[in-house]
Symmetry: C2
Subunit: 179 residues, 2 copies
C-alpha cells in the first residue's frame, strides 16, 4: 500500500476527533489520540515525516513535552537518529538554556540541555499541533542557542487561523494536515 502524502493525511484527518469547548469554552480541540491508538494511522503519521526527512541527513529530532514526545520519539526511531527533549523548567538535570514566552493567558518557560548536541548539527523540531506558534518559536530559539541548524519544523496539524507561522520567521515549516 503506497499512499501519497495527501492520501495519508486524509486518512489521518478522518480519525481526528473534534471536541468542542476543550480545554476552555470556545476552543475546538483536535484530539489525535484515536490516530495514535490505531496501528495503521500511527504508522502513517510517522511515515509522512520519515519519508520527508530520511534523505536530508538530519542529526537530531527535538520535541516538546508532553505530546510532542510521541510523534518525535517515534520519528527519531524511524530515522535511526537521536532524540532531544525540550521540557518545562526543573525537569532536565544538567545545565540548561531557557526560553520564556507568552501564552494567551500568562506565560510559559521551556528548557533544553545546553550540551544536548554538537554545534552545527541538523535538527528537525516535531510537534503534533502548530497553534499560536509560541511554543514552536521558543523551541527554535533553544535549538539555535545550542548551535543547531533548524532544517524544518514539522507538525501533524496546523490551525491556520491562529497564524502561528508568522511567529516562526524564516524557519521552514511543514504541516501534514491544515485546518
Amino acid at each position: 500500500m503506497n499512499l501519497t502524502e495527501h492520501e495519508k493525511a486524509n486518512k489521518i484527518k478522518a480519525a481526528i476527533h473534534d471536541i468542542p469547548d476543550f480545554p476552555q469554552p470556545g476552543i475546538l480541540f483536535r484530539d489525535i489520540t484515536p490516530v495514535l491508538a490505531d496501528k495503521e494511522l500511527f504508522h502513517l503519521a510517522v511515515s509522512i515525516f520519515a519519508e520527508r526527512y530520511q534523505k536530508q541527513k538530519i542529526d537530531k529530532i527535538v520535541a516538546v513535552e508532553a505530546r510532542g514526545f510521541i510523534l518525535g520519539a517515534a520519528l527519531a526511531y524511524a530515522l535511526n537518529i537521536g532524540f532531544i527533549p525540550v521540557r518545562k523548567p526543573g525537569k532536565l538535570p544538567r545545565q540548561t538554556f531557557q526560553e520564556a514566552y507568552n501564552l494567551e493567558y500568562g506565560n510559559n518557560t521551556l528548557e533544553i540541555h545546553a550540551d544536548c548536541f554538537k554545534p552545527g548539527q541538523r535538527v528537525v523540531i516535531i510537534d503534533d499541533v502548530l497553534a499560536t506558534g509560541g511554543t514552536a518559536a521558543a523551541t527554535a530559539q533553544l535549538v539555535q542557542r545550542v548551535g543547531g541548524e533548524v532544517i524544518e519544523m514539522g507538525f501533524l496539524l496546523e490551525l491556520q487561523f491562529l497564524e502561528g507561522r508568522n511567529k516562526l520567521g524564516t524557519t521552514p515549516v511543514f504541516s501534514a494536515i491544515k485546518y
Copy 2:
C-alpha cells in the same frame, strides 16, 4: 551487530549520567537523556523491548507522560501497534477513568481515555524508570479498568532499593537495567 540483551543493557548503562541531589537533596538522579540523544543507544534501548514483545501479539503500548512517552511511542512504532497515553488530569479530552496515588510528598492523579482500546486487548505498559512503583501501579489499574490485560510492565531502569515491584502484585515486570 547482534548484541545480547545483556550487552545492550551494559552499553546503555555506561551512558547514563548520575546526577547527585536532583531533583532534591539526597536523591541520585539517573539521567537517560544521553541514551536518547545517541542514535545507536536509543535504537538499542527500543530494540530490547521490541525483541522481547514482537512475538507476544501485543495490541497496545500504554505509557505515562512525559518521559514514558519517549520509549513507549518509539516501541509502538517499532512493533507496528497503537499507542495509548496516560496523562495528568485535564489533558485528555474525552471521558476518562482516574486513579489517585500517593507520592513521597503529596499525591498524584493519572487519567486514561475510557474508550481507548477494546476490552480483552493485550497491553504492555512502558516507562523509563521503575522507582517506588506508585505510577506503575496506578497505570496498571487504569488499563484494567478499561478492560485490558496487562501482559507485562517494561522499564529501562529499575531502582531496586525502592522495592517498586512490591506494589505491582502479580503483574509481570521486566527491567533492562537494575540499580
